[in-house]
Amino acid sequence: MATLKELSKVEERFVGGHRLCAGCGHGITVRMILNAAEGSNVVVGCATGCLEVASTIYPYTAWKCSFIHNAFENAGATISGVEAAYRALKKKGKVKEDFKFIAFGGDGGTYDIGLQSLSGAMERGHNIVYVCLDNEAYMNTGIQRSSATPTGADTTTSPAGKVIPGKQQPRKDLTAIMAAHNIPYVAQTAINNWQDVHKKAKKALEVEGPAFINVLSPCPRGWRYNTPDIVEITKLAVETRFWPLFEVENGKWKLNYKPKKYVPIEEFLKPQGRFRHLFKPGNEHLIKAIQEEVDSRWLALLERCGETPELPPR
């Protein structure tokens, strides 16, 4: 595993001057992923969203590699087209260099509107890496719920109202859906653990065929936590087992991190404004239900990973 000392010597390919919010998780995530692609020629594809809008405002681009944005729902198809062009031109000797292909999409562009395009690209076996920057809502349009939005979250289209306390449905398990595609590599990671992100990005870039990484990439505006606390909040997502770190390599599930003790979900929810309403007296049952959801998902994951399905000691 490379050290930060070594990694900091790699050329920066997502430069400052982009217009993401101060403290945006996407800037951190993208830097980590491209850092892992050190030395390779890279073409980045990007779905419409905060990242794309903020990083390529004509006539400025924050990308030091080739970049294409097409539309919201088609990052998967677009990057597979570029990869097909690469195969064709390479075969004919028109392109000499080797290339890696990385597509970035937010959870809206990946879990929801772009799911079909992503699924198609994965099923067809293109040699690409798709990275979902999951910040659990449509942030670009102003914090609307997506299928990645967790139960109970207050968003502008799942507002915590007098009758309905935030989003009512459990979040979609996209990483598992991608694993069901039986592609060489699927992983879930979070930026609090940069080694984990780095290792998984490396693996994804190295495997032959499609790879998918789901990264928890917080949004201070949408989650309403104190902006500098991004690493802490992400860590709480992992420690509370809300966002487990795991990978599926050629069909084999593996848990990458097991919290030592039982951290209740409140710890993750409490610092975030989007869950504030859950802490009003009388709403205890809502938090309890979220905890039950987290626990049952955790147990199912342990089972898939061949681990003993038990909760950490309280």
């Binding site: 970049f67 198809a77 087209g81 570029v82 990869e83 062009a85 690469y86 075969k91 079909q116």
Partner: protein
């Protein structure tokens, strides 16, 4: 070398694609285009082309992947019809604005609903303002010829735009027709190799494409697209002349049939133009000076050529195989009437909507149109500007 063969329109188009041998084809099946995808897949499976065939999961992805491929520096194609084109709608605009020379046949079919699989032009007309070049084909021969020329038009440095090659669903796509095909070598030489100017896979020169364009630049980039469309008119003519050298068949922006001395004329796209020409011949034999104008190119719109061709005519009927629901007639009617306005010579222009959802256009329908035109010419009176042909009223 030219060979006479009997092929359906779909086969002819697939044949052209095989001879063009593009780098990437991304496509999805839809009636009545499906055969093109099937036949082309077999060329890929049998190693008759070097193409990377991407069997996508939807037409939206077909055009999206074609965009990715073309942006990557490849000669890319797709093919579709009707609902498929409608699903592509969003990305066709993007292909045009990114100035990617994607060639794609469209087998014209009615749009739902109610669902219908037969021919009309509502699919193509829905994208007439998307910034793609639209060629129309009367028969399998023209579809084949248009496909080959489309590559050169699309890739011309002054143009760099997608080209949509239209032919009538079932009427042309599924009907066996006799046509002349060129040999592989001739086509290969004619289309040449694609040399992209700027593309994603240029390792030395990374590029950002599809960027966020605010009000400070978007308008200027749209103006550039208009210029490319203007340039396309000249390029289409040049390519048509060059194509004549290898095929003996010359193509311009329009086909003008017996219009030099015509009193009455019909303007019509695609296969119906053949029917109209037949009727015009019959009427000529009876002493009626009838003519036909068939736009080969609908976008960019060949306004000057059409004005010139129709300037001596007294009454014109524009036949549209699509509705606009403006309640003021079909799409081409608006364009033609606008074109003739500047002549200030009182040409009467009327509109006939015909053939929606594959409703047959028969000789007597066209005869009726010419008869109406003769009446208008004689009386100078138009009773109804927009009429429906073959509709139970």
């Amino acid at each position: 070398m030219k060979t006479k063969v009997a092929l359906t329109g779909n086969e002819a188009v697939a044949q052209a694609m095989k001879q063009i041998n593009p780098d990437v084809v991304a496509a999805y099946p839809i009636t009545p285009q499906t055969e093109i995808v099937q036949i082309f897949s077999s060329f890929v499976a049998n190693g008759e082309v070097d193409t990377e065939f991407v069997a996508v999961e939807s037409e939206h992805s077909a055009m999206s992947a074609a965009i990715g491929a073309a942006a990557g520096g490849a000669r890319a194609m797709t093919a579709t019809s009707s609902q498929g084109l409608a699903l592509m709608f969003e990305v066709v605009y993007i292909a045009a604005s990114l100035r990617l020379p994607i060639v794609f046949p469209v087998v014209n079919r009615a749009l739902s609903g109610p669902i219908n699989i037969h021919c009309d032009h509502s699919d193509a007309m829905g994208l007439r303002d998307s910034g793609v070049i639209q060629l129309f084909s009367e028969n399998a021969q023209e579809a084949y010829d248009n496909m080959i020329q489309a590559v050169r038009i699309a890739e011309h440095p002054d143009v760099r735009l997608p080209v949509m090659v239209n032919m009538d669903g079932f009427i042309t796509s599924h009907a066996m027709d006799v046509l002349e095909v060129l040999d592989d070598e001739t086509v290969k030489n004619f289309v040449g190799t694609y040399v992209p100017e700027d593309y994603l896979l240029d390792a030395q020169n990374p590029i950002s494409m599809g960027n966020f364009d605010m009000y400070d630049f978007y308008f200027e980039h749209k103006r550039q697209q208009v210029e490319a469309m203007k340039a396309a008119k000249e390029v289409i003519k040049e390519v048509g002349k060059e194509f004549a050298k290898i095929s003996g068949r010359e193509y311009g922006l329009i086909e003008s049939y017996k219009l030099e001395d015509a009193d009455v004329a019909v303007v019509v796209l695609n296969s119906a133009a053949g029917t109209a020409k037949g009727v015009a011949d019959e009427l000529r034999a009876k002493g009626i000076k009838a003519g036909v104008l068939k736009p080969r190119v609908y976008r960019p719109f060949p306004q000057e050529e059409i004005r010139e061709a129709l300037k001596g005519v007294k009454a014109v009927a524009v036949m549209d195989r699509a509705e606009t629901f403006s309640t003021c007639g079909g799409p081409m009617f608006a364009d033609i009437r606008n074109t003739l306005y500047d002549l200030k010579n009182d040409i009467k222009v009327v509109n006939y909507i015909y053939g929606l959802g594959g409703r047959d256009l028969r000789l007597e329908h066209v005869q009726q149109v010419f008869e109406d035109l003769e009446n208008i010419r004689k009386t100078g009176r138009v009773d109804e500007t927009v009429k429906y042909l073959g509709l139970r009223e």
